[in-house]
Subunit: 329 residues, 2 copies
């Protein structure tokens, strides 16, 4: 069984863009976000249409950032948290490129990056965009309660990021390089609380990071940063503990996009989550640091809780997954 | 812009399996289905759990058919129609392989085959399983009405296939070969009727088939069969008309898995549909004919309607997609 892939041709990320809502645009990475929204409706009538427009805008701006026209892009690989990933399919409707829909919950961004890097590295395509989105209000009403109910949120909960991010991967051009990827396996820690997804996802993150270290014959010191997707404060503590038990102390290198994105002060509690969380942080803050060579090598590990409201109602625990992508400046 | 991929190493489909419900197991391809269910609950308490078990069984039987143990399989690429593709994620939980979740509605099977063929052809993995499922009862209650309501179905509607299919693609071994693939783009024909998905998907199928012919510099005569996924009777007429207008008369080569799977006599109306439709027909009937060299070369074009109940309620039309995979005996 093989889970880690090495990209000999080192596909390059030549363009990126992040679109973020008002809360995300006033958090700790505000200076790096390319498109900041004044309100989370983005001029649309529904949350779902607003999310679609955010994803469309991130992809469009990503073309621009890579100095590529739409006709030069072969495929868009994207996914989101809405049922039947409609933010992705409806935004892809506006482009003439091929479309590949993916879903691994909040791990979708690194899933897309892995597939995109294969398409470029293998010589199948020349330019591919990888993108994901999420929206606090569309996620709350789909997964939890309508906002109008004013339900109280428990302290172990996270705040779904309103945002979208996109990366353009290419054979040619200048930009940070994707050097390897480890695909995740589905891990079930037995967590039943759908409000405590950080704990559920921590085991999957630990499994993927450990597999990556072993397959690449490296330790945590190989990377400047090991960036998990949206474990939040509690999940981050768990993943560090789990890896420490296996002999790897990632304390110095570890950051979590969910912990990073907000200046936690209100009811964000454990921090951000959502398919847009890692893609917004990667395509703004992290890409900026990589391009300026302030970071040399990072491991991005987006994490996803593979539940649905139906599976929870039927008494199921929460299977989780994490895909890791190594990027070099 | 590039949409067609040629696989120089010709990945081989060395194992396959199809699991089907009672209605599907008594239709025109009944003699080819590997696992036939006596009732659509498969010993489970809910339709969703039954669908998960079907998909799990198809994957497990596919390992067996390819004479591979679980530890030899690197990744499972799968998707289904349930919200958050839970049939796929919960069935993948039972395997130790890597997992890649995909979603392009009923076009998911050829999307998975395309990605799987890239992974093998590019040398990234050695053995990959591509699988999809759908279930009439879980789809009806999620997309339309609970069965208990006894709603009348309109004559343009199709019947979601209760079934799952899986193919094991490998670098080595014996079996039909994947020679090329054309990825679909999202096409919107402006159809607003969520009961008439055949018409919505026909335009996407025509676009992909035409692009495939042009990119490969071939005509319809290249193939023994051009097999669409689940256009049904009406959609099949439309795709033939659309291609005839472009100068390709596919009448002689065209069959549709949705038309093929049932002996239409009751309220299946236009025929079968669902992510399991093309995967059940391909992994039973078509694979049998390819293995016995009664078919030499076919083009499988699964078709998907990328709507959700939310998008329909918000007045949106139905964007569609089709991915084509060419298989040689």
């Amino acid at each position: 069984m093989k889970r880690t892939i090495f990209f000999n041709n080192k596909p390059k990320i030549i363009g990126c863009s992040a679109v973020a809502g008002p809360k995300e645009s006033s958090g700790s990475i505000k200076d790096y976000i390319q498109i900041k929204l004044l309100d989370d409706m983005f001029g649309e009538k529904t949350f779902e249409k607003a999310e679609t427009k955010m994803l469309f805008s991130a992809i469009k701006d990503c073309f621009f950032s890579a100095k590529k026209s739409e006709s030069e892009v072969d495929a868009i690989i994207s996914g989101d948290l809405l049922n039947q990933i409609i933010a992705s399919t409806f935004s892809a409707r506006n482009f003439s490129c091929g479309y590949v829909g993916v879903y691994n919950a909040c791990a979708t961004f690194t899933e897309a990056l892995t597939l995109g890097a294969m398409m470029i590295d293998g010589g199948y395509f020349n330019n591919v965009v990888c993108a994901t989105s999420s929206h606090f209000s569309s996620a709350e009403r789909q997964y939890r309660y309508p906002l109008e109910l004013g339900s109280t949120r428990p302290p172990q909960s996270q705040w779904t990021v309103t945002g979208a991010g996109a990366s353009l991967i290419s054979r040619n051009g200048e930009g940070p390089k994707i050097i390897s990827a480890t695909i995740g396996k589905v891990v079930d820690f037995g967590v039943l609380d759908a409000n405590n997804m950080g704990a559920a996802m921590a085991a999957a993150a630990a499994n993927t990071i450990l597999t990556h270290f072993i397959d690449c014959k490296i330790t945590n010191n190989e990377y400047d940063l090991i960036v998990t997707g949206d474990l939040g404060t509690l999940g981050s503590r768990i993943v560090k503990d789990l890896l420490w038990e296996k002999g790897f102390d990632i304390e110095k290198q570890h950051v979590d996009c969910g912990e990073l994105i907000y200046s936690i002060k209100e009811d964000e509690y454990q921090g951000g989550s959502g398919a847009g969380c890692s893609s917004v942080v990667f395509n703004s803050y992290l890409m900026d640091k990589l391009k300026k060579k302030k970071l040399n090598k990072i491991l991005l590990v987006a994490t996803g809780a593979l539940l649905s409201s139906v599976s929870s109602q039927q008494g199921e625990s929460i299977p989780s997954i994490a895909h890791a992508v190594a990027v070099e400046s």
